[in-house]
């Protein structure tokens, strides 16, 4: 305690005893299109005093009175230095020019530019800009955010044709995916073959695998923060691409030059047009489209407003059998206000919705479900001194979930109308966080987030005999649904259940020397929304549910420690991180659970826990003709689900078992080689331990069929997953004065045609009566060609 008080006095005195100080603030933008640059460094030469621009390109530095050289730099751009006389608060807005050689060169940014990234306490974060993503080989010629982050250490997914991604052994629903701050509930098009993010509309992405800043909350594994471009505020500009499966077009330009701009980007697939020509599948349709919109206007130097939106849709129609469509829609209205040289604020009003519809014609059934939320968020950043920066804010999210509504599609349909209970909830958040340079070498980032969650009334909740929604049947050693004894109705104004959580976040960085540092972090996080899925692949039809009387919030604690080094004049960078993550209240499904159309999900689940740990290595080459990275992850992810209230030993006899996201080894190699101005090449090599699955361990004859018996949950594995992709980009003679710029991208996915098992099914052959294993592999070798243009 004594030390604590002493420490506090030191902090306060260092703040109070400071000399006469002034602030310098401003916005850093791109010279050609006026896009704000986030993560640009502003430095006072010869000092350790500097700042990194925030999500809106804003920075503020406070320093003692004097003359300084300000150095502004951003990877891929020419650095600028300015002499200033700091004798009063002042504004310094800078526009940086892209490096001349940069047109095709790839720039990989780990976190923030060098000096800062070594020093900043933020760890476990990966940043990719749209330029890098566009250089990586992609399946079917469509560059993809979700596929590219899977090349980073600690990020995997469940194989081709599955939605979402898994971070450090976490489930898909444990990722908070934000597109311009709006929650995206399903990141996939075409059942996971593409993602919802159009690379033409995206400025950059940041993936926090741990050490999640206090301003984010609501998910326990990661945050994927995707920011859309603002739109060119200097000149009209069109870019697009024509591929075999899909095409895209983006238009951007000024509304008022240098003051306001807009961006409209669209994508659509047209495979269904070809399908019409083929007799067998002419009634089938599989397609997607999406639209990104953004506009912003600078009212004056202290006020700027942004409006952004996204709308996407997938349509899947198998002639007369099944018709399915799903998609996300988001909107965000933001107001940046600069109170003074040190205080920056942003207020956001956000809406997002995910819905799906499924029509089964043969049984005349129509099923719709959706989740939507309204979100208000007010965030502040206070540049208190050169040693201390504060972030604080509040948010409130109102959720409404419609888990399912079934209706007959005709008068004669045998289906009865049914609407599952609508669920309402409110999630509140308050946070404060400080980035504090304690000594020249030691920097800390400490914060606290308070989250609260109320499941609101307007529905009845079932009560169960002995308060057991699930009951252990000791005779048969199985879990069964509990017996409903009564129902309690909750009024709309009543709260069915309330939860509160304090979530400390702590990061420390100790700089060993100019080019290396060690960092450590602790993150506690709570998740109140859960995606219900008892299948091995997440599908668009999975239903979200809220915490409530029977489903407790998931709570994770993650510890991580890392070592970072730049060498050979920052040409190479090495990151080593190791983590341990423990998650409470991770639900799992009892054997034979039935989630479809189920109003009482609590009768199908047991509360369990999960843990994951691993070692991640990332070696990057940042500069030169050849760039790229090698990522290796050694990890373990398992869960345990005890019987608890329901009695009995629990799932898998109460033993720990692999989660479906456990990958012992995960190796990704990405290389990009720029041969000359006309040709550049890139390649991905991926190797992963096979996904945990449950295989049969015997069979018996019953009613004339061979019925499989099974071993313990997730005890076996699919064969290892590996593949190699290559692509070549050809840029014809582009004269610098010509407006039209084009390039051809030729790609081959899965070059050596590896038949990676998406799944292995075990069946009795209906001609021979013998049991056999069938491998389903989704993509063999797939060539693609895309023409991209810009004018």
């Amino acid at each position: 305690m004594k030390h604590l008080i002493l420490g506090f006095c030191l902090i306060v005195s260092s703040l109070l005893l400071a000399q006469e100080k002034y602030s310098i603030r401003g916005t850093i933008k791109d010279f050609t299109n006026g896009e704000t640059l986030l993560g640009a460094t502003v430095f006072l030469k010869g000092t350790t005093n500097g700042a990194v621009t925030n999500e809106y390109g804003f920075y503020s530095i406070t320093a003692a009175k004097g003359n300084y050289t300000v150095l502004i730099s951003y990877i891929g751009y020419e650095s600028i230095s300015r002499e200033i006389q700091l004798n009063a608060d002042q504004t310094l807005n800078i526009e940086l020019k892209e490096s001349a050689t940069n047109l095709n060169e790839v720039v990989i940014v780990a976190d923030e530019p060098e000096q800062i990234s070594i020093k900043k306490p933020q760890m476990s974060v990966s940043k990719l800009n749209a330029g890098t993503i566009k250089q990586m080989p992609a399946v079917l010629g469509e560059v993809d955010v979700i596929k590219s982050i899977q090349m980073l250490p600690g990020v995997t997914n469940n194989g081709e044709g599955s939605s979402g991604f898994n971070v450090r052994g976490g489930a898909v629903d444990q990722n908070l995916v934000l597109l311009d701050e709006a929650i995206i509930y399903n990141t996939s098009h075409f059942f996971g073959f593409f993602s919802v993010f159009n690379a033409d509309a995206i400025k950059d992405i940041k993936l926090y695998k741990g050490d999640i800043p206090a301003k984010f909350g609501g998910r326990v594994s990661s945050v994927l923060d995707v920011r859309q471009k603002d739109g060119n505020n200097k000149a009209f500009n069109v870019n697009g691409g024509i591929g075999l499966i899909s095409s895209r077009l983006a238009v951007e330009g000024p509304i008022v030059k240098d003051k306001g701009s807009f961006l409209i980007a669209g994508r659509t697939s047209y495979a269904h047009l070809f399908m019409k020509g083929i007799e067998d599948i002419k009634d089938d349709k599989i397609s997607f489209y999406d639209l990104n919109l953004k506009t912003n206007y600078e009212i004056n130097k202290n006020n700027r407003v942004y409006l952004s939106g996204y709308f996407g849709r997938d349509i899947f129609n198998l002639s007369k059998i099944i018709e399915n469509n799903y998609g996300n829609a988001t909107a965000n209205l933001r107001w940046n206000h600069i109170f003074n040289d040190k205080l920056f604020s942003n207020l956001s009003l956000i809406y997002s919705k995910y819905d799906y519809q499924i029509i089964l014609d043969f049984i005349e059934l129509d099923w719709v479900a959706d989740i939507k939320n309204y979100n208000i968020k007010y965030d502040f950043k206070y540049y208190l001194s050169d040693k201390l920066k504060l972030e604080f804010g509040a948010s409130g999210i109102s959720y409404k979930l419609n888990p399912g509504e079934v209706s007959p599609t005709s008068q004669t349909s045998p289906i009865n109308y049914l609407k599952l209970d609508q669920k309402r909830a409110f999630e509140g958040g308050l946070y404060v966080s400080a980035e504090h340079q304690i000594t020249n070498k030691l920097t800390a980032q400490y914060g606290l987030r308070y989250s609260s969650f109320s499941r609101l009334g307007g529905q009845s909740i079932s009560n169960y005999s002995n308060n057991q929604p699930v009951v252990y049947n000791s005779e048969l050693d199985i879990y069964e649904r509990g017996e409903v004894t009564s129902e309690t109705f909750f009024d709309k104004r009543e709260s069915i259940q309330h939860y509160d959580n304090f979530e400390p976040r702590l990061g420390l960085s100790y700089q060993l020397n100019e080019v290396s540092s060690i960092k450590a972090s602790l993150t506690r996080s709570t998740q109140y929304l859960h995606l219900l899925s008892n299948t091995s692949s997440v599908t668009p039809l999975d239903v979200w549910t809220t915490s409530g009387k029977y489903i407790k919030p998931q709570r994770s604690t993650q510890y991580a420690i890392g070592y970072y080094k730049n060498f050979k004049d920052n040409t190479y960078a090495l990151e080593l991180e190791t983590y341990y993550k423990a998650i409470d209240n991770r639900i799992d499904y009892i054997d034979g659970s039935d989630l479809i159309g189920n109003n009482t999900i609590e009768t199908e689940i047991l509360n369990g826990e999960a843990r994951a740990y691993g070692l991640e290595v990332l070696l990057r080459k940042n500069k030169g003709k050849f760039t790229g990275w090698l990522a290796y992850t050694l990890s373990k992810s398992e869960q345990r689900t005890l019987g608890g209230q329901a009695g009995g030993p629990g799932i898998n006899n109460g033993n720990w078992y692999n989660t479906p996201y456990d990958r012992t080894h995960d190796i990704s190699l990405t290389g990009i080689y720029k041969l000359n101005d006309k040709w550049s090449f890139s390649s991905n090599l991926v190797f992963q331990t096979g996904r945990p699955v449950t295989y049969p361990n015997g069979q018996y004859n019953y009613e004339g069929f061979s019925i499989a018996t099974f071993s313990n949950r997730n005890e076996d594995r699919l064969p290892a997953y590996h593949r190699l992709d290559i692509s070549a980009t050809y840029t014809p003679n582009n004269k610098p004065d010509k407006r039209w710029k084009g390039e051809w991208v030729f790609g081959i996915y899965n070059l050596y045609n590896r038949k990676n098992a998406a799944s292995i099914t075990f069946n009795q052959n209906d001609q021979t009566g013998l049991n056999e294993a069938t491998r389903i592999s989704i993509f063999g070798l797939i060539p693609s060609v895309t023409y991209n243009f810009k004018f």
Binding site: E475, L476, N534, Y700, G769
Partner: protein, 265 residues
């Protein structure tokens, strides 16, 4: 885009267990006196020989409402038969199997099945508008939850096709089910055509047996594909009273069923 191929892949071998296939099915309108119970053991997954039959067990069914006992006779080939069984609707029956000095017991209630109203054929319905299907219609009783098992069997095939159905979304309505065969070059399966004969059976089953058979059907036809729930060992209703670790596979069911045949025109 996707491709399927049969591969050789090793699977583990678990414990070999007794399998009790005790399906006392009573066809509506008959005496139901003749019944058979089969006993066998499980085998490794890729077993190619005949199923090992279990002989020397004692098999007995008791009507719990009337206390009438029915002793099944060992035919020394894995089957145990009786010719004087008395099915009574709504009554509960207990099974007792004694094998290797261990006692297995199970309980099940006999439920009534509705009559089939109508069987038709059509082209327009079903999954594919160009393929023939057979349609079955029956009335679901409104006053309770009902569970059904269908068996569609085209004469000449190796296997019947099983389907489970609950009245969850259909309670009290006339229920329509259909069976259509698709062309499949891999296994010479052909769509229905004039002259094909389909045997149709409709069983009234208990909720617990529905839960069992629903999973059995999902696992049998899905076989662990990405959209089926995580495969897990199926536990039937036969309990080993002597040693609960050494449980048996299979099920003791008591059902009433209706049966009909349809010849495509």
């Amino acid at each position: 885009m996707s491709c399927e191929d049969v591969i050789d892949i090793e699977v583990p071998t678990g414990q070999i267990r007794l399998v009790i296939e005790a399906s006392l099915d009573w066809e509506k309108g008959t005496t139901g006196n003749n019944q058979t119970i089969k006993l066998s053991t499980s085998t490794p997954y890729y077993q190619t020989q005949d199923i090992p039959s279990v002989t020397g067990a004692s098999v007995k069914v008791t009507n719990a409402d009337t206390n009438q006992e029915f002793i099944f006779t060992d035919q020394n080939n894995g089957t145990y038969t009786i010719s004087n069984f008395v099915p009574i609707l709504g009554n509960t029956y207990n099974l007792e199997v004694i094998y290797n000095e261990e006692i297995y017991v199970a309980t099940e209630t006999l439920l009534t099945v509705p009559e089939i109203n109508n069987v038709t054929q059509s082209l327009e319905g079903g999954f594919d508008d160009e393929l023939l299907e057979v349609n079955v219609y029956f009335d679901d009783p409104v006053d309770q939850d009902n569970f059904y098992l269908f068996s569609f069997y085209e004469q000449g095939d190796l296997f019947a096709n099983l389907e489970d159905l609950s009245d969850e979304f259909l309670n009290g309505n006339e229920i329509h089910n259909f069976f259509e065969k698709d062309e499949d070059e891999d296994n010479n399966q052909a769509p229905f055509q004039a002259g094909d004969v389909v045997d149709i059976q409709l069983f009234a089953i208990s909720e617990r047996y529905y839960n069992f058979t629903r999973l059995l059907i999902e696992q049998y036809y899905g076989g662990g594909d990405p959209f089926s729930s995580t495969a897990a060992e199926l536990r039937g209703n036969c309990i080993n009273q002597t040693n609960d670790e050494n449980y048996a596979y299979g099920y003791f069911r008591v059902t009433e069923f209706v049966k009909t045949s349809y010849t495509f025109q």
